[in-house]
């Protein structure tokens, strides 16, 4: 069937910010869908609030709305788009944007928006979404077609839940309806637990409903990825078997493709069931994911659930097989049939087939519990991992071992002795480190049978671990000097890394891995590269999608073209997220255009960078020195010049930069030595001194004594952190010696090589991020981003606004000057990020017409300057000091955001600079006029999104350690509205009326009245704790008083729980035995009440609320914003100074 011609415009819904359960995989799927539909000639409109994505690049869709993903904003987008093309066939594709997009589609349909604007849904119908998502409908549907399901009942109150659980017996699973990644779900082993879990589940469900289900805990778990076209052709793309049995969310399970322990009969029965399910649910076109449980001893097969859309598992399946599910799903949605779509990889055969694998794929999740002290680390039906790695090997053993090293945990369980009781507990209860404990148990002589009994993991998998252990023992038997070639080869074939072998032979220190490498060379044990080709080599493949293995034949003969290797960022992590994938992809796109052969190395299946058509070659490999070096050597073999880009993938590739360079690899762009210098406290401090750039006094410590002495010398408060980390891991602000001592004793590992850094913490300062491009001579500033939270909160966790709202021009100029100096001093070629702090004392303004004296052209001043984020406390015209906090001569988290705000693809330009091109080629006018990239007449606010709802009990306070998983952007022509939009997009619904609870530190009290006044003026009532209330009443405003949590009742938590408070302004005041901020923040998260922790943010919120009270819902496509800005910057501006 040819494509549909009754549709000409398609709105694709994205998934919004990266959150646990909805990660970069939807950037991959959305980008594929946009590209596929655009190539088919459709007018593609995209809505997504996440600026860090590739899909929101202006060239991916025809019109891109970076707007909140709510019904109101989508309706406005639909209205505008309908108006632009009144007669066009207009459709929405909701199946590539995760649960968020599906839920929105239902909302748009239920509220009549689709009908009102005559918009069709494609890819999935409302009925089929409801049938698949509503557990009761789904269960009925399954029973109708004769498929077995776990016994279950839907309940909307505790009493019914208890009654049903009593009937089927504990344990039971609680699954709230319509939530993401199993949010709010859990397992209950007894009545008491059920009450707690069910109460939370009901609360999380937007429809106050949850399913109580028979536990299939310990059953084998499988997933099938299914595709169907309009002609009812159905194919299975991939089978996935979970290493962890049922009971652990599949996103938190180690998974294996293809399924390993099913015979053909069992597999085909599952395939038949999957096909019956997709037909019965009525997913007309596209991909679905169907999950099954199989009883390990009886074979009873039950259907667990179905996602009638592209999912995390389909991203994995796409990367595991080479079959681009999202792209094909998009084409099917517009009417193509599977046989009409060619298989890109083989070219000669159609997409209508079932991929077959001649390798094994293992996915391992990445958790970051270290970021959330106090969180429950056990794994269950609610997903807790933040990212994942995928590894490909010819055997399960090889893939697993590659996956383990790709995880980049830096941890190893081995030497220490584990108490038998603890070991049992560690084996029985699923948790992030279980695999290590299993290996430990096997090493200690536990049999496969014993471990299988405790873990419920299939004995076949455990036997593979045993074989790995046996190999380890075999290697240990031989001294390195006389190890037989066969043993070495066998170990490498099983996936042993050089590092592990070095450890086995007790080599240590520098050059240990090098010795193994030389040993391998001597024994001729070298990796080869094989192709992922969808067909197990039955047909020739045209896409070099490669993985390493220790086999005979290599299928990746290197070319002699000039080439660039781009090191990706590995698994998604807090602090190292999709932004870096964005930069890597852009480097590849740009250099491909410039005629380079681009080579991507990455191990994250959720990303665009690991799409086989992003680069000329894709090596799906761990980002370790061994693997990267091997690829470099391989690619250089034909004599081509190979450059390597390390500065785009975050910390993971940066850690490899110096070792690679020392081994002779040509790193292009800023040299690793300078990147290193910027991280080296002593040398960097010296450089700043030479450049006469102020920095907060600091010290380094490699011992407890040094730390205490250093902190005392610098003066408290101090910021203490380990060197070489990203995302502020293990960073604290210490107000006293006790904290420093505790930190040094417990929190962190350090050494002479890697000392702890101690800086004076600039209290009460605003923080500023500056992104810049440099070719070593010329420098252009991409954006000066003013943080909305004050310094001390990790920049990734702080909302920020571009352009800066109210920083006086002379301070902006100073930051520019420092940035220029630093870029030249560090010989930056590519991107650079500088973080500044400006203390409020001495902060001054030169002009009340904020920003107007800036070099930015600003045609409308109406909304600007009415309010300020930062209250000036001094006004001496040119006063104020700018401190440099840190310099990162590499891509930063904000690059995609700045690129979207300015319309200038900074990462692309940076990649080109690294190949020797000059900044003047790209941005001559900005160099000549010494002006920053332009944001036109709009404000762009970036706000973080936090995973609090996944970690009940964890304190939600912000600090120097990054905790947010993703970000959103709000755009408007005034700051308040932009901030409000960002808050809405981040899921923080600012209230337009009601009651504000205010409680601030003594330090903030002098300014609290001015902020409170804004809320009173907008019609809000105030509630405050005694001290704050005194100040507010003293300023002549009415204010209710409330007890602190431990003072008595009703206290503030009672008010929150009683829905009496709509907004919380609470600046953290440190330990107060009566106040219990933690309880307040927790209650607020549960009740979904926005909590603001700085006065600066409170001012911003007030502006946002004012915008909301105006009741405007404005949307604008990015392309339109950029065009307007172009027009402005070309037109002679009378305001330009």
């Amino acid at each position: 069937m040819p494509k549909r011609t009754d549709i000409s415009k398609i709105l694709i819904l994205g998934s919004g910010p990266i959150i646990i359960g909805q990660s970069a995989e939807f950037d991959y799927s959305g980008t594929q869908a946009c590209k596929a539909l655009k190539a088919e000639g459709y007018e593609v409109v995209l809505a997504n609030s996440n600026p860090a994505t590739i899909m929101t690049d202006p060239e991916v869709a025809d019109r891109t709305y970076i707007e909140p993903l709510t019904r109101e904003y989508l309706e406005e987008i639909i209205r505008v788009e309908r108006e632009l093309s009144p007669g066009a066939g207009f459709a929405i594709l909701p199946t590539v944007g995760g649960q968020t997009a599906l839920n929105l589609a239902i909302e748009l349909s239920d509220s009549g928006v689709l009908e009102k604007y005559n918009v069709k849904l494609i890819g999935a119908s409302v009925e089929s979404i409801k049938k698949a998502e509503d557990r009761l409908y789904f269960k009925d549907a399954m029973q109708k077609i004769g498929l077995d399901v776990p016994k279950s009942a839907l309940v909307n109150n505790l009493k019914d839940g208890l009654e049903f659980a009593g009937k089927i017996g504990f344990p039971v699973i609680v699954r709230p309806s319509f939530t993401l990644g199993g949010s709010g779900g859990g397992m209950a082993y007894n009545r008491e637990e059920l009450l707690e879990v069910l109460a939370r589940g009901l609360d999380f469900s937007p429809v106050h409903e949850a399913l109580i289900e028979e536990s299939v805990l310990g059953w084998k778990e499988y997933e099938l990825e299914v595709m169907r076209d309009l002609k009812d052709n159905v194919i299975i793309i991939c089978s996935i078997e979970n290493f962890d049995p049922m009971g652990v969310h599949t996103g938190d399970s180690i998974t294996v493709a293809p399924a390993q322990t099913l015979s053909d009969r069992e597999y085909q029965a599952m395939r038949d069931a999957a096909i019956a399910v997709i037909r019965e649910i009525g997913v007309e076109t596209g991909g679905s994911n169907i999950q099954f449980g199989v009883h390990p001893h009886t074979g009873r097969m039950v259907v667990i659930e179905m996602n009638p859309r592209v999912s995390r598992s389909s991203a994995l399946a796409s990367k595991a097989t080479g079959f681009p599910i999202a792209k094909i799903a998009a084409k099917l949605a517009v009417g193509y049939t599977l046989d009409e779509i060619p298989n890109d990889i083989t070219r000669k055969t159609p997409a209508c087939f079932e991929p077959t694998l001649d390798y094994v794929v293992v996915k391992i999740p990445k958790w970051q519990f270290e970021k959330f002290p106090g969180a429950d680390e056990s794994l269950g039906p609610q997903m807790k991992s933040v990212g994942e790695v995928m590894a490909i090997g010819r055997t399960f053993k090889e893939a697993l071992m590659k996956g383990v090293r790709a995880l980049d945990t830096g941890k190893r369980i081995g030497g220490e002795k584990i108490e038998p009781k603890i070991l049992t507990q560690r084996l029985v209860t699923p948790h992030p480190e279980r695999l290590s404990y299993i290996r430990y148990a096997i090493r200690q002589g536990h049999t496969v049978k014993q471990v299988a009994k405790m873990t419920g993991i299939d004995p076949w998998f455990l036997y593979q671990l045993k074989e790995i252990n046996d190999m380890q023992l075999e290697v240990e038997k031989h001294p390195i000097e006389s190890v037989p070639t066969e043993v070495l080869r066998e170990a490498k074939r099983m996936g042993f890394s050089d590092g592990r072998l070095a450890g086995t032979w007790r080599l240590s220190g520098k050059g240990d891995q090098e010795k193994i490498r030389h040993l391998r060379k001597k024994h001729k044990v070298q990796p080869v590269y094989k192709r992922v080709d969808t067909c197990a080599a039955e047909f020739e493949s045209y896409t070099p999608y490669l993985y390493s293995t220790y086999e005979e034949e290599d299928e990746a003969a290197p070319t002699d073209k000039k080439k660039v290797i781009i090191l990706g960022s590995g698994p998604n992590r807090i602090g190292q997220g999709i932004e870096f994938d964005y930069c890597c992809c852009h480097a590849s796109f740009a250099l491909r255009e410039d005629g380079y052969e681009t080579i991507m190395i990455n191990c994250n299946p959720e990303t665009v960078s690991t799409d086989y058509d992003t680069s000329d070659r894709l090596y799906f490999e761990p980002l370790t020195f061994e693997d990267v070096w091997a690829i470099y050597e391989h690619e250089s073999a034909a004599g081509a010049e190979v450059g390597v880009i390390v500065q785009f993938g975050g910390q993971t590739p940066l850690n490899l930069a110096l070792p690679l360079k020392k081994s002779g690899v040509k790193i292009i762009g800023t040299s690793p030595e300078y990147i290193d210098l910027a991280e080296d406290r002593k040398r960097f401090g010296k450089l700043l001194d030479e450049l006469e750039i102020p920095q907060a006094p600091g010290a380094m410590a490699a011992s407890l004594e040094e730390a205490v002495a250093g902190a005392a010398k610098i003066g408290y408060p101090v910021l203490v952190r380990p060197s070489y980390v990203l995302g502020g891991r293990a960073m604290v602000i210490a107000y006293d010696e006790e904290t420093v001592v505790r930190y040094m004793k417990e929190a962190v590992e350090y050494s002479q090589d890697r000392p702890v850094l101690i800086d004076h913490f600039l209290e009460d300062a605003i923080e500023v991020d500056v992104d810049a491009l440099s070719d070593g001579e010329d420098v252009v500033i991409g954006g000066i981003m003013q943080h909305i939270e004050e310094a001390g909160i990790h920049s990734g966790d702080s909302s920020c606004v571009l352009p800066a709202v109210d920083i006086p021009e002379h301070l902006l100029a100073r930051m520019r000057e420092y940035t220029f100096k630093l870029a030249r001093a560090l010989k930056v070629v590519g991107l650079m990020n500088v973080q500044f702090a400006i203390p409020r004392s001495g902060y001054a303004e030169t002009d009340t017409d904020h920003g107007a004296t800036g070099v930015r052209a600003r045609p409308t001043e109406d909304h600007v300057g009415a309010d300020t984020l930062v209250r000036p406390t001094g006004a001496n015209g040119t006063g104020g000091k700018v401190y440099v906090l840190e310099v990162n001569p590499r891509a930063s988290r904000t690059v995609p955001y700045v690129s979207k705000a300015t319309g200038v693809p900074m990462a692309k330009i940076a990649a080109r600079l690294m190949t020797g091109r000059k900044l003047r080629e790209f941005l001559p006018e900005y160099i000549d006029q010494q002006k920053d990239l332009d944001t036109g007449s709009c404000y762009y606010v970036k706000s973080p999104v936090f995973p609090w709802n996944k970690f009940p009990g964890v304190d939600t306070v912000l600090g120097p350690e990054m905790k947010s998983t993703g970000e959103v952007m709000g755009v408007a022509d005034n700051f308040g509205e932009a901030f409000a939009k960002a808050q809405i997009a981040a899921g923080q619904k600012l209230p337009t009326q009601g009651c504000v609870f205010v409680s601030v530190t003594d330090h903030d009290k002098p300014h609290v009245a001015e902020v409170a006044r804004k809320f009173v003026d907008m019609g809000f009532k105030l509630v405050a704790t005694a001290g704050t209330a005194d100040v507010i009443e003293g300023a002549g405003m009415a204010c209710d008083r409330v007890y602190k949590v431990k003072e008595g009742r009703p206290n503030v938590v009672d008010l929150i729980k009683g829905d009496r408070i709509q907004l919380i302004v609470n600046t953290p005041q440190g330990p107060d035995p009566f106040f219990d901020e933690k309880a307040i923040r927790r209650a607020a998260v549960t009740a979904r009440i926005p909590t603001i922790t700085t006065l600066a943010a409170a001012r911003a919120a007030a502006e946002g609320i004012a915008a909301l009270q105006r009741g405007e819902v404005n949307v604008k496509a990015l392309q339109q914003l950029h065009a307007e800005r172009e027009a402005i910057s070309k037109a002679p501006s009378p305001r330009r100074t």
């Binding site: 001649d358 094994v360 036997y463 047909f539 086999e551």
Partner: protein, 376 residues
């Protein structure tokens, strides 16, 4: 145990031997199915062939008595990347290695099977020897060259039953029906099935469609078949080249129009020849469970199990008599035909699957319908 594969063109792969000690000879073919190794071991169509499995992990779920397609394995030898030393599955009764050892089938493991598959893909299937006892490569290559070629060899008469029998449902298991795929149904039709190397699942499928099945040897004359008063005749799959099986072609000609006929695989090729067509050998054949086949009338696609080295040339068939019904989407080869006037249809692929997808089970129903109509 060291083991070597030597191909007729001199290419050699060295790996480890599992299963039986010794040597095996045959045409080396590759199969891309992910699941179903036991069914492949025991499929008589593999007589004379050494099978390379592209799935690198073989043996994981062991073997059991229910998944056999014949009473013994028919492959000459097995080549895999990794052969599991253990089995794990609730139905498993025997580790795969033990099973093959019991029937003296040598296994070559731990070689670069992907390299071998690419070699066969580029150069076509070829003869080879797997040996665990001979290390002189030149001798092995010479041996490979001395193996009789598959082309022109009638293997059907080698693997067929030596006397007719009425098929009975074998041992029933405790497994749910959907796993075994078999239901006891009252007998409504009598089918005589020519055994050219018939797979058990064909018999199970026919039996599930209410057929009593009498299996007869490959060379049974048409008259003897008619004397059994069947409602329909089934032509089975089987190994080797169809051309030398002239006896079968003659019998099919004599049965055409006198009984509804349904043929699979070799049965399809023989029918093609009986209809005046020609067969040819494919470069490396179709062996796997993921082939898209299009029903030319409806445009509908089935994902099907394939196991054939030969194919019927559609241009050689008389268009006036024969309707082409199915086509492979990968290489556009003929996968099914139907006689325009007589009750006869055949498919090149395996609707009984086992191993493979069940998309084409409907053909057994079509056969029953054809018998119903014929009966009036």
């Amino acid at each position: 145990m060291q083991a070597i594969l030597a191909l007729e063109d001199g290419r050699v792969f060295r790996g480890k031997g599992y299963g039986a000690k010794g040597e095996c000879y045959g045409e080396v073919v590759f199969n891309t199915s992910i699941t179903g190794y036991q069914e492949i071991f025991t499929d008589p169509s593999y007589a004379g062939q050494i099978v390379v499995l592209t799935n690198p992990q073989i043996g994981n779920y062991g073997t059991n008595s229910e998944d056999n397609e014949a009473t013994r394995p028919y492959i000459e030898g097995l080549i895999v990347r990794e052969f599991s030393k253990v089995s794990s599955n609730w139905r498993s009764q025997q580790v795969a290695e033990e099973y093959l050892e019991q029937f003296k089938i040598p296994v070559l493991a731990e070689i670069d099977t992907r390299a071998l598959v690419r070699h066969l893909r580029d150069n076509g299937v070829m003869r080879g020897v797997v040996s665990t006892i001979e290390s002189d490569v030149e001798k092995l290559v010479a041996k490979a060259n001395s193996i009789p070629k598959m082309d022109g060899t009638d293997l059907a008469k080698v693997v067929t039953t030596n006397r007719p029998y009425v098929w009975e449902v074998g041992e029933r298991s405790h497994e749910p029906i959907e796993i075994v795929g078999f239901k006891d149904e009252p007998e409504r039709f009598h089918v005589v099935a020519y055994d050219f190397g018939i797979k058990q699942n064909i018999l199970r499928k026919l039996r599930s469609e209410c057929c009593r099945v009498t299996v007869v040897p490959a060379q049974t004359p048409a008259e003897d078949v008619l004397a059994l008063k069947p409602d329909g005749v089934f032509l089975s799959n089987g190994p080797g080249d169809p051309e030398p099986c002239t006896y079968a072609v003659d019998n099919i000609r004599r049965l055409m129009g006198r009984q509804p006929i349904f043929g699979i695989c070799l049965g399809h090729q023989l029918t093609g020849i009986a209809l005046g067509g020609k067969t040819f050998k494919l470069k490396f054949g179709h062996h796997g469970g993921n082939h898209p086949v299009k029903q030319l009338k409806t445009g509908k696609i089935e994902i099907t199990a394939h196991n054939h080295n030969f194919a019927v040339d559609p241009d050689s068939l008389p268009q006036s008599e024969v309707e082409l019904t199915h086509m492979d989407l990968n290489d556009s080869t003929l996968e099914g035909l139907r006689h325009r006037n007589l009750p006869l249809f055949t498919v090149q692929y395996h609707p009984e699957a086992s191993p493979g997808p069940h998309d084409s089970h409907y053909l057994f129903k079509d056969f029953v319908k054809m018998m119903e109509e014929w009966k009036g």
